[in-house]
């Protein structure tokens, strides 16, 4: 006897979007993007109204001209891609990362000292998490060497590793940077591995000799810079309150003119009053000549004067939307635009990432401070609360696991019904700690913003896919494998 199975279909978890007339589904549990044809879209429309049985769906598809075999084939495709589901389908969560995750990137905070006194600094400002008392202010070579040895030892089978130099102001310890590059290159050659470097700086201490060194050694450079003088100088000031724009502008121009071996990026911190994204972009990209410009709102408690606030974030989104529209026009012509927030999101959409954790902190990336303390990332360096061991004693696996367990998407219940979670996974651990006192707390103050941004980038992705798909091949190579 054949058992009778009554199967009722319902919608799976996906986010629908259009690019022109073309309809797409972003399948949330996978991070997959599918273009839908008419019958597929009709099934989703029908199921949006009510659950339907197999027979009912086959009947409706029959009215659209599909024979039974074709209709069942279509329902099979929709089921297997999880766009629709039968009542008994179990919920799926992302796989856990491997228990021992090979290190890929080490962020070396060469010093915790800085020659600027930016009002919003997360290392020294009112919301700081660092506890530098009694610890060295500058990293010494022994500590840096041990850190590099640890990077190679803990990087497993990876063919390439990466070192990012950070601070404080990184260039206040340039002599160490030179020695680290030399030592790390030697070690990489001896071990048959590849290595590359990048550095973040406020640009105040750049000299022709340093620029030459960075260029010769192919060191990627990110300059923290907030725009034209009156915006940049609002918070990026010296201890006496004087703005830093006039000091850095000529140095940045020289850097961009001389250092041609790697793209050079500007990284903008948006604060209350410094939210004119379009103007900032045009200044940094066209007046100064940066290859790309990335924007991020300041990390802060909501009550600080420089916090942007909800309405300000609405303005920021509107300007992001306009600049992203410009990005799309460039992309359709096959040209690269410098608004890196879009590039970064498109790259993740292209791969179809589905994150268990918001970023690589504590997984493939770790930070090391001047004292040799290991932190989940550069933002937690020198914080006793968040240390994951010391290079003298190695990575504290129990603490690392506790940090990762706390930050896993499984524990962020607010995220479980959100379509943006494959990319966001709850947002920055450090932002969460500053806002909520818990690295594993979802960044609820950004939810609507992130959803709007993800939807916008999906539509841009879909439009490029429909009109100039070759452009997306720019994202085929995964960063830093």
């Amino acid at each position: 006897m054949t058992p009778t199975i009554t199967r009722t279909f319902r919608l799976g978890e996906f986010h629908e979007f259009y690019a022109g007339e073309t309809r797409f589904a972003y399948i949330v549990p996978a991070g997959a993007i599918f273009e839908l044809d008419g019958p597929a879209a009709a099934v989703l429309d029908d199921l949006a109204v009510s659950e339907l049985s197999l027979e009912e769906l086959v009947d409706r598809l029959g009215a659209l001209g599909l024979n039974a075999e074709d209709a069942i084939g279509l329902l099979g495709e929709l089921t297997q891609s999880r766009a629709i589901a039968t009542g008994d389908a179990p919920a799926e969560t992302p796989q856990n990362p491997p228990a021992v995750f090979p290190l890929q990137t080490l962020v070396l905070n060469l010093t915790n000292q800085c020659n600027l006194s930016c009002g919003y600094c997360y290392e020294y400002g009112a919301d700081k998490v660092a506890t530098p008392q009694g610890k060295p202010k500058f990293m010494d070579f022994e500590t840096a060497r041990a850190a590099i040895d640890m990077l190679f030892a803990e990087s497993g089978e990876r063919r390439g590793v990466h070192i990012t130099f950070f601070g404080g102001e990184t260039l206040m310890n340039f002599p160490l940077l030179e020695r680290v590059v030399e030592y790390a290159n030697q070690q990489a050659a001896a071990l048959g591995r590849s290595i590359d470097f990048s550095l973040t700086t406020n640009a105040t201490l750049l000299t022709p000799a340093i620029i030459q060194f960075l260029s010769v050694n192919r060191i990627g450079v990110t300059v923290s810079m907030d725009g034209p003088p009156e915006l940049h100088d609002a918070l990026r000031v010296f201890a006496n309150g004087r703005g830093s724009y006039d000091i850095i502008a000529p140095k940045v121009r020289e850097l961009l003119a001389v250092h041609r071996t790697r793209p050079i990026a500007a990284r903008v911190t948006l604060t209350s009053g410094v939210t004119d994204v379009g103007r900032i972009y045009r200044h940094l990209k066209h007046d100064l000549g940066f290859h790309e410009v990335g924007f991020a709102p300041v990390t802060t408690s909501p009550d600080r004067l420089y916090a942007i606030g909800e309405r300000g974030m609405g303005d920021v989104f509107e300007q992001f939307r306009i600049l992203a529209g410009e990005y799309l026009e460039f992309a359709l012509r096959g040209e690269l635009h410098g608004f890196s927030n879009v590039s970064d999101t498109l790259a993740e959409l292209y791969q179809g990432v589905n994150k268990s954790h918001p970023c690589g902190a504590g997984l493939g990336l770790m930070g090391v401070g001047p004292s040799g303390d290991i932190a989940p990332c550069h933002r937690f360096v020198d914080s006793d609360t968040h240390a994951l061991g010391n290079i003298a004693t190695g990575i504290d696996r129990a603490k690392q696991q506790a940090f990762l367990d706390r930050g896993h998407i499984d524990g962020k219940y607010d995220c479980h019904s959100c379509f943006a979670r494959p990319l966001c996974a709850g947002g920055c651990h450090h932002e969460a700690y500053v806002r909520y006192g818990d690295t594993g707390h979802p960044n609820l103050h950004y939810c609507d913003w992130i959803r709007d941004w993800t939807d916008l980038c999906l539509r841009i992705y879909g439009t490029i896919h429909a009109q100039n798909p070759g452009f997306l091949e720019n994202f085929a190579e995964r960063k830093g494998l």
């Binding site: 599918f34 273009e35 929709l78 292209y350």
Partner: protein
Amino acid sequence: MKHLRPANRKARRIDEYVNSLTEDVVAMQQNPVPPALRPHVPMGCALAFSPGWEVDSSGGTAGLCQPVERDIYDCYVTCFWPAQVPDHLNNYPNWAAKCAAATKDWRNLDLVFP
């Protein structure tokens, strides 16, 4: 897939996976076999001189002493392993009537429902 067109890398992986589930059988002799369609080849020893699901020393079937399709009739006629094919003596005498040459016509061998 026919109605869903993959638009990113993850979708393409799902598409390949789904196709690998629904594709028709693949002849082992097909060379080269597309990766998504590669059949599962059980490697085993052949103690009997009867070509079953064995492979030759190169992992293919071209070097076997008899064509793999011969296996069907080995079960069918000699009842060497009777559970796999219909009983041709009493109940399904015409089961293989449409299959003149096993290597070409094996698709005409149908299932039977006792």
